[in-house]
Amino acid sequence: MFQYTGYILAGVVGTVAITVAAFLIGAVLGVPLAVASRSAYRVVRWPAISVIEVFRSVPNLVWLFLVFFGLPEVGIRLGPWATAIITLGVTSSAYLAEIYRGGFSGLGQGQWLASKALGLTTWDRGRYVLAPQLARVVSPTMATYAISLLKESALASTIGVVELTFRGGLVAQRTGDGLTTFVVVGLVYLVLSLPLAYTSRRVDSRLRAKFSVG
């Protein structure tokens, strides 16, 4: 069993890579999506809201299969890694857009009014007043999402991505010892999520102490 631990642990790289890549894609794409979903123009708002809703209503596994097995039919042939990262990234953008939206409504009108009254342009308003405050408000929720994304990355094993869970599966097959193998795999996931949970709690309390809205 122990001879395989190294092999299993090597999967951490892949798992973390997928998680980080997908999270970044989602965090970036989520912004225009969230902004569009609050647009005053129905033409922009409705498609944006529909996209968010659809991406969140279909389970990630289905999306993965759709992209991996289905898209080749229309000529888009992505490898397992690319599929996993892009698909999870795109669905993440929908989940994160929803988180951003929640942050917006928590912000309140006053900041918007004041920055408008001062004459700040829409861009300046966003960059200097709204975004910094938004970031502080949604950070904890985003951290929670990052942790769940870490677990979602295990889905990639179903389309053949050789990450942590996939390696565990192979070893379990080889050794016939599913119990120990998956206990080990489970422990690795637990350990991986600890630093993220810890930093998010520290960052959150530090931000709270620094500026409490008068």
């Binding site: 006053g110 900041q111 009014l113 004041a114 920055s115 408008k116 009254a117 001062l118 004459g119 700040l120 342009t121 829409t122 300046d124 200097y128 007043v129 910094p132 405050q133 502080r136 620094k210 500026f211 409490s212 809205v213 008068g214």
Partner: protein, 263 residues
């Protein structure tokens, strides 16, 4: 009728701030009915009236934070007219907003920036001043409102009265032609509110043109050049403070004043 006086003044081209025919409709509810108001340079006008009379809404229409259903706002040489069907773009509103400074009931300071940065930000981004220039100007304004020592503090660490004074400094930093105050002391305890009123009084004494929506009758009476009474979205009375407050003509004014002043 006093309403006519204000209308004539607004038509006069030497009115510095002129709001003509401002109407604001939310669906079926008419919050502001065809209000016309004019201020000469250096004048201080207070708008008083019962809650829900549309005073704050009107004030927000003046700097187009609310886009009125109809009306014209003119400050000096810059004016903007809105009618049903026309919706002005940000670009069209900007020139007017540059000339108007606004102080809110809830201060609305930026909590993630220091007091100094609160006052400097718009100077740099809107007026294009250099950081050094902006900082210098901010410090001098903060001194003027008595808060120079709080420059590097965050708003969360300041009392309500201090925050509001910072908000005044923030608005003044852009050298507006007219200052709009939306119930600046309503969210403050009376003693703390007094600090803010003192600053406003000084400002008035220095010749700033001010339009103030307030519940502070003492301020309205002692500092204003004119008082305007709004009820149900319309101006029902306007005139010099001592006349309006001791001998009002309109029955609604009488009713409001007696409730407020206990007469």
């Amino acid at each position: 009728m006093s309403g006519l006086d204000t209308r004539e003044q607004a038509v006069e081209s030497d009115a510095f701030l002129a709001a003509s025919g401002v109407t604001m409709r939310f669906g079926d509810h008419v919050a502001v009915r065809d209000v016309t108001l004019g201020l000469a340079r250096g004048q201080v006008v207070s708008i008083i009236g019962p809650s829900g009379a549309g005073k704050s809404t009107f004030l927000r229409c003046v700097n187009f934070l609310e886009i009125p259903t109809a009306g014209t706002i003119r400050v000096g040489g810059t004016s903007l007219t809105v009618g049903p069907g026309t919706r002005p773009r940000e670009k069209d509103i900007q020139p007017l907003r540059r000339k108007l400074g606004m102080v809110f009931q809830n201060f609305n300071l930026f909590p993630h920036l220091t007091v100094l940065r609160n006052v400097s930000l718009a100077q740099e981004r809107v007026l294009g001043r250099s950081p050094a220039e902006a900082e210098a100007r901010s410090m001098s304004l903060l001194e003027r409102v008595g808060l120079a020592d709080k420059a590097s503090a965050y708003p969360g660490r300041c009392s309500g009265g201090q925050q509001q004074r910072v908000a005044i400094a923030r608005a003044l930093a852009l050298d507006p032609a007219v200052m709009l105050f939306d119930e600046p002391t309503s969210a403050l305890d009376p003693e703390v509110g007094a600090e803010v009123l003192a600053v406003m009084k000084e400002l008035a004494g220095e010749g700033m043109t001010m339009l103030v929506v307030t519940h502070e009758m003492a301020f309205a009476r002692d500092v204003s050049d004119r008082i305007v009474v709004m009820v149900d979205g319309a101006v029902v009375e306007a005139g010099e403070p001592h006349k309006v407050m001791s001998d009002p003509e309109h029955p609604r004014t009488r009713g409001f004043l007696s409730a407020v002043l206990g007469r």
